[in-house]
């Protein structure tokens, strides 16, 4: 039992580390991307929005498979990382981070994009007439007004990363300490018929996910979560 405990804790620690790293990176990349999607009139808007939303509908194994091919020794990215001396990304923590970012991208980008769109042009125009340049308008008007969307995005991105399985298995394998997260550890428990241990982890994940969603819905009581995670222009029932 002692061994099980430490393995579980290791998986929990790794999962939290992964989710933190992924969420921070996604906020850094997703916020400008959401800003661009909310304001552009470019013909690339629709293709890019669709690409970002893809993980919502795609089986994780499909995404994982392509990433494995890309980042593998014969893939485009794989050859580049090898040439740069980084080595291969699959079955490493870095590979897991990249895969998780792609997989959780829509859960971060869409709430922020929706929040930016909800602000509308007027507050930004008003700020422009009050001597605020583009950067100041973004930092001092758009971001504060979109803060609920940003918080929702961070929470959803974090929770979604904690809960992923398929991509992790494809890209990370199930290496203790390196790529074994809660969901794959749980899978291992079940494979080994260790049902009490599986119960324990499953309950932790269940409670965590419920708590997160409860918090998000408290934050936006009008059910904005569904609206904010719906792909652009597609209302969810």
């Amino acid at each position: 039992m002692d061994v099980d405990w430490s393995a579980d804790l290791q998986a929990v620690a790794l999962t939290l580390k992964l989710a933190f790293v992924v969420t921070l990176l996604l906020l850094a990349i997703g916020t400008p991307l959401a800003w661009w999607l909310a304001h552009t009139r470019s013909r690339w808007k629709a293709p890019l929005a669709a690409l970002v939303a893809l993980p919502l509908v795609l089986p994780p194994t499909v995404l994982g498979f392509y990433l494995l091919m890309l980042m593998g020794p014969h893939g485009l990215v794989g050859r580049a990382t090898q040439a740069l001396g980084i080595g291969l990304l699959p079955f490493s923590f870095s590979g897991l981070v990249i895969a998780s970012m792609l997989y959780s991208m829509p859960f971060v980008v869409q709430p922020i994009q929706t929040a930016f769109e909800a602000i509308g042009a007027r507050p930004l125009e008003a700020a422009a007439t009050l001597r605020a340049g583009p950067w100041e308008r973004f930092v001092h008007v758009a971001l504060p007004l979109a803060r609920r969307g940003v918080i929702t995005a961070a929470v959803l991105g974090f929770a979604h990363t904690v809960g992923e399985f398929g991509v992790v298995l494809m890209i990370g394998g199930n290496i203790p300490g390196a790529t074994r997260v809660i969901s794959t550890q749980l899978y291992s428990h079940v494979e080994a018929l260790e049902y009490p241990a599986a119960h324990r982890l499953a309950a932790v994940l269940l409670l965590f996910s419920f708590a997160v969603l409860l918090w998000v819905y408290r934050l936006s009581p009008k059910g904005a979560l569904l609206a904010s995670t719906a792909p652009d222009g597609v209302p969810r029932p």
């Binding site: 507050p123 008003a126 700020a127 007439t129 009050l130 504060p144 007004l145």
Partner: protein, 359 residues
């Protein structure tokens, strides 16, 4: 002085104006909804870019596409008050007012925060969140916020349109005082002739994207050749001062060029500058002075022009008071016009039933 020549296609119409506005006082862009006045205002602010256009304010070139100059909005010394106050919901009232002021170099701060607050009367609101403010309060905060950037010109886009009558009555005097207090040039967009009559010194009449007439308010509103709102709203604006007071009967005499009107005492001191509005429907005509009439204001004048009114039974008559002083409009029936043989040059008495003191 504001010079603008702008051309911008806009769906239903093409904004196509070339105009000059005085650097002093309040200029009104007046016209029906959808005539392009808001688009013009947005071009002045730099929120829209009319290709090939030119905007020069007090000698400062804000846009001149011939030399590829387009100063972005945040570098223009402009203040804008939108129809909805558009306050920053994440900031309290004081932070809203200070938002633009903070971004000015100290040397540019000709209007202090204290002045902006005092002129708009928002002292008691400063610590409040914007969410709890009434419509009128929000608009006053928006005006203070725009004033605090010490603009060369304050652009106001129908700032009263979204307010009910009571709120309008609360804000109009504040806007009226602004120009006198701050000396800042105001360009005021409105489709409400009552607001224009009350606030404007200079009026640009707009129709279908074009500026069809431009001139001092008293002259422009008395013109019969313009598509001014007909019907109940036709009338003139006169400017003058309190010329005499009659304490016994609680009356005051309002002196305007070439005419004087007795009205109930507005409790203003002698010599106080006033602006009054005389509606065409309140003016009837007579060939002789009436000694047996309750109408006290009988003004000798000369017929200048006669034009059709909105209803075929009526005509609008433009009069000129003595010495070429002021223009008046009178509405009479076509039959009366014929009975009295009204024609340009004919001397008449204008019987003025009531005048409205605007400030």
């Amino acid at each position: 002085m504001i010079e603008a020549s702008l051309r911008l296609p806009r769906g239903a119409f093409t904004l196509d104006v070339s105009l000059t506005l005085p650097a002093r006082g309040v200029s009104a862009l007046f016209g029906p909804s959808g005539c392009g006045k808001t688009t013009l205002l947005r071009c002045l602010a730099g929120l829209e870019h009319a290709p090939g256009g030119r905007v020069v304010v007090d000698g400062e070139v804000w846009q001149d596409d011939a030399t590829s100059v387009f100063v972005p909005t945040h570098r223009r010394a402009v203040g804008v008050v939108f129809q909805e106050a558009s306050l920053f919901e994440h900031l309290d009232v004081r932070a809203n007012v200070e938002f633009g002021w903070k971004r000015l170099a100290p040397a540019e701060r000709r209007v202090s925060i204290a002045e902006a607050i005092a002129w708009t009367g928002i002292e008691s609101l400063l610590q409040r969140a914007t969410a709890g403010l009434s419509g009128g309060e929000r608009q006053r905060v928006a005006i203070a916020r725009a004033l605090a950037v010490s603009p060369r010109v304050l652009l106001m886009d129908e700032p009263l349109a979204a307010l009910d009558a009571a709120r309008k009555a609360e804000i109009l005097p504040a806007i009226e005082r602004l120009n006198a207090l701050s000396g800042i040039t105001i360009v005021y967009v409105s489709h409400a002739i009552a607001e224009v009559a009350r606030l404007a010194d200079h009026v640009v009449l707009m129709e279908a994207g074009q500026a069809v007439a431009s001139g001092p308010v008293a002259e422009l509103l008395s013109r019969l050749d313009l598509p001014l709102p007909p019907g109940e709203d036709a009338g003139v604006v006169l400017q003058g001062e309190i010329g005499a007071l009659d304490a016994e009967w609680q009356l005051a005499r309002l002196d305007v060029p070439g005419a004087a009107f007795w009205t109930r005492d507005p409790a203003l001191p002698l010599g106080h500058r006033i602006r009054l509005r005389v509606l065409a429907r309140d003016v009837s005509l007579s060939l002789v002075a009436q000694s047996e009439s309750s109408i006290v204001n009988q003004i000798p004048a000369t017929v200048e022009a006669i034009a059709d009114d909105s209803h075929p039974s009526q005509v609008l008559v433009r009069l000129r008071t003595q010495g070429g002083g002021s223009a008046l409009l009178a509405r009479v029936t076509r039959r009366s016009a014929q009975t009295l043989a009204l024609a340009p040059g004919k001397p008449v008495w204008a019987m003025v039933k009531s005048v409205a003191l605007l400030d």
